[in-house]
Symmetry: C2
Subunit: 153 residues, 2 copies
DNA sequence: AATCTACATGATAAAATTTATCAATAGTGA
DNA sequence: TCACTATTGATAAATTTTATCATGTAGATT
């Protein structure tokens, strides 16, 4: 994993559909050499996946929330069970297990407020592992999926 | 935007490198027809972009934080100015403007704690728009970029 | 110093995929 | 029924990805 790889990764975070030829030109490398690096980055798992980014509202999910969850206990077995349980919910599109004033940050999408209310009832209120949670309604996703810079500042 | 488009979008969120032929087969459509739909979805902006997903730690950013920020004032001009200012920071890879107990949720990456401390000094403490903020240290990104389901539950 | 090995590179060619062209089909409203 | 529009499928051309092979460079060994 050298500087060239980092540049490739940065490029692919901006546009995963750029052709190998374009990337190769950008970083001054031959096409096959660039191709092999990209292939290795994919195979090794450094590139987790390549995916389309779509605004939830454009797929019929106009509401987006950030949930700050506090759990009852910190025991890892319980936490892991809880995480694998809730991560099955398709409405939860991102979930971060954190330490600080809360234990979990969830990004949840919903078709409407009623559906969101149902979600909280079934997934959170019913669950004994949840002590409480706060809902932040997303008004604007003001910066989305910024590319991770190749250099540390 | 019909059901077929939604299925295509779901597919592309799982794997943006699937060939048109694969997608077409999956949803029972000819290759050219499928191709044209994908092209329109891209052109119309429904597909915002296609990008590689990479864990920050694999690019030399081992630390990840969620910041819960409270702003001094709600005036939209001030808020917008603040947002466009901080969104320039490459360490901020996602930023949600929300309503509730906080005004802003930021995902920030850092090479180490010292760099993170510097970041908060320069970007947050120095800024008059910031009333205060809480830091949640990410221990695990337990669900990442879940695909947005094509149907509303 | 010479040589060997491991590894990444570039040139080229083959395979696969994307994209354009065109004729045919299905659905709409007059 | 008859145009009109929009979408489709078949085919072919253009582009891109991928494989093959020979070359070159750096580090280790004799």
């Amino acid at each position: 994993m050298d500087n060239i790889d980092l540049k490739i990764l940065h490029q692919l975070q901006t546009d995963a559909r750029a052709s190998i030829a374009e990337i190769a030109a950008q970083i001054g490398l031959s096409e096959p050499a660039c191709y092999r690096r990209v292939r290795e980055l994919r195979k090794s798992g450094v590139i987790e996946k390549e995916m389309a980014i779509i605004k939830p509202k454009n797929m019929g999910w106009p509401l987006s929330m950030m949930l700050l969850v506090e759990l009852e206990r910190d025991h890892s077995t319980i936490v892991n069970a809880f995480l694998s349980r809730i991560n099955k919910q398709p409405e939860i599109i991102d979930s971060w297990f954190v330490t600080g004033d809360y234990d979990l940050v969830l990004q949840v999408i919903a078709a409407d407020m009623e559906a969101f209310d149902q979600f909280t009832q079934q997934v959170l209120h019913k669950d004994n592992s949840v002590k409480n949670f706060k809902t932040l309604v997303v008004m604007r996703h003001s910066k989305a999926h910024g590319p991770i810079p190749p250099d540390k500042k």
